[in-house]
């Protein structure tokens, strides 16, 4: 077994103190599978965080550029407690000569910080992160005008600092903002969101414990949908659905999600607008200086 000699390794047999609470865990779990709705939302149709089901958490502390001064473009967003930062580099030459292509290429790296989840994560990219990176890439490829920078590569690095549900959705929004701030030509912004399906109920933008867990709840009509939506071109750039549901329900979920994206679009655009204005003003100042 290969040991990672480039990092300090802890003892193999250490375990999280949360395991000491075994009993409670089981109860919770039992309850979850028994009647999820009760846990997630009280009788009065209000979720733990005081949201109504069709309500998303507000996008806050959106910081575009500046957060990573070294990068060409960068963005930081908080959707509820889900915090992530994205840095964009390039267009720069492709490292590997072998994968040459006339179109530009996107390289996406999606990483959870070791402390970002309930369980401690490893340092190397695990399988899940690899797949998420792939999804991110496919979604953004649909939005970025790759033909504008042939033979070059744009690197998109997403780092999840805290994961409280629907990280991919947040990542999509964050990444497209970062790309925009790096002034990479795009057809449209990609706005991500996810929907949690419960029997006869849809929750928009689920938190970690609202999210569909393959381990926990796998009875009928339980699923999670994450989409990346391009509002102005009205196109779907990413679509990931997990869990069991009927086609009709999927339609419903899709509708809910797209509506939300359309709602958010102006907000995001506003953020970008401010940035652009600021940079322009700065430039004019610089002009004055010289």
């Amino acid at each position: 077994m290969p040991v990672d000699s480039r990092r300090l390794q802890g003892p193999e047999n250490s375990f999280s103190y949360k395991l000491l609470e075994k009993k409670n865990d089981n109860e919770e779990e039992a309850a979850l599978s028994a009647d999820l709705q009760k846990i997630l939302i009280g009788t009065n149709k209000v979720r733990k965080d005081k949201r109504i089901p069709s309500d998303a958490r507000p996008l806050c502390n959106v910081t575009i550029t500046g957060i990573v001064s070294q990068a060409k473009g960068s963005a930081y967003i908080e959707q509820g407690n889900t915090k992530l930062v994205c840095g964009v580099y390039g267009p720069r030459e492709v490292q590997k000569k072998s994968d040459f292509s006339l179109n530009g290429q996107l390289f996406c790296e999606f990483k959870f910080a070791p402390f970002s989840c309930q369980k401690r994560r490893g340092h190397q990219q695990d399988n899940e992160e690899l797949v998420l990176s792939g999804l991110l890439r496919e979604a953004l490829e649909a939005a970025v005008c790759l033909h504008q920078f042939p033979k070059a590569q744009v690197e998109v690095n997403v780092m999840v600092i805290e994961n409280d549900g629907s990280p991919l959705a947040a990542a999509l929004t964050c990444a497209s903002l970062a790309l925009a701030s790096a002034s990479i030509p795009m057809y449209d912004l990609v706005i991500g969101t996810s929907v949690r399906q419960l029997p006869k109920l849809l929750l928009l933008d689920p938190t970690k414990d609202e999210e569909w867990e393959p381990e926990l709840n796998h009875d009928e009509d339980n699923s999670n949908l994450t989409i990346g939506f391009m509002p102005s071109t009205h196109q779907i750039a990413a679509y990931v659905h997990e869990g069991v549901s009927k086609t009709e329900d999927l339609e419903q979920m899709l509708k809910l999600a797209t509506e939300y994206c359309l709602k958010v679009q102006p907000v995001v655009q506003l953020c970008l607008k401010e940035v652009v204005e600021k940079t322009l003003s700065n430039e004019s100042e610089n002009k004055v200086d010289e």
């Binding site: 000699s5 480039r6 990092r7 300090l8």
Partner: protein, 218 residues
């Protein structure tokens, strides 16, 4: 004699011990034995190539197990020191490959390795702007400064262990690395002590080189 204060332990070295390396030395300081080898200038790997100077690749090999993060730390220390003493800008777009192998731990491995590397560089004949001599000293529990401590003294525990390296021109500090905690005055005393001690090592370098060439005449 080894625990005796204010003295440096016996120094010994054998230059060009390795038949293949361009420069190599087996260096002992008291019971600490270190072997260092230098290859170069060689052609540098493309990604490592530096347009204006020589790239220094340094590997520090522990005696037991794979090199880990701790070794990387040592490597950085030694490498940056080499960067200062080698006239790297004379050989742009090339690489020099230095390997340090610890052979016997007599307490002061870091200092010994730096001295060994310096001798190996001398042996290899790479152009240097100055020599470097490293000395370790230790502040024990009773605030006594022990110069060049041997392994037992180190094992007994200490307040701080500092390693300094000085250049041969003005005896200024090139490298400093310490573990533990000492008040500044003590720290300063330790530094001065080591600086004095470094002269002995430079003296030894001189004799080593002398011996090497005289032998070649014999």
């Amino acid at each position: 004699m080894e625990t005796e204060e204010k003295s440096i332990r016996a120094l010994k070295c054998e230059q060009s011990v390795l038949s293949r390396a361009d420069g190599s030395v087996m260096f002992s300081q008291g019971n600490t034995v270190v072997m260092a080898s230098v290859y170069g200038p060689l052609e540098a790997k493309i990604q490592k190539e530096l347009s204006d100077r020589m790239y220094i690749e340094l590997n520090y090999k522990p005696k037991i197990g794979m090199p880990g993060v701790a070794e990387r730390g040592k490597e950085k220390l030694i490498k940056t020191t080499c960067n200062h003493i080698i006239l790297t800008n004379l050989h742009p777009r090339t690489a020099v490959c230095i390997t340090v192998q610890e052979m016997q731990d007599g307490g002061t491995l870091l200092a010994a390795s730096i001295n060994a590397v310096c001798l190996a560089l001398l042996d290899s004949g790479l152009p240097l702007q100055c020599l470097v001599a490293a000395v370790t000293c230790l502040v024990d529990k009773k605030d006594r400064i022990v110069l060049d401590p041997c392994i037992n003294t180190v094992k007994e525990g200490y307040k701080a262990m500092c390693t300094f390296a000085f250049d041969s021109q003005k005896y200024n500090m090139i490298l400093s690395h310490c573990e533990g905690q000492v008040p500044y005055q003590l720290f300063q005393k330790a530094m001065e002590l080591c600086q004095k001690a470094s002269h002995v090592i430079f003296d030894f370098y001189r004799q080593a080189v002398l011996r090497k060439f005289s032998k070649e005449l014999l």
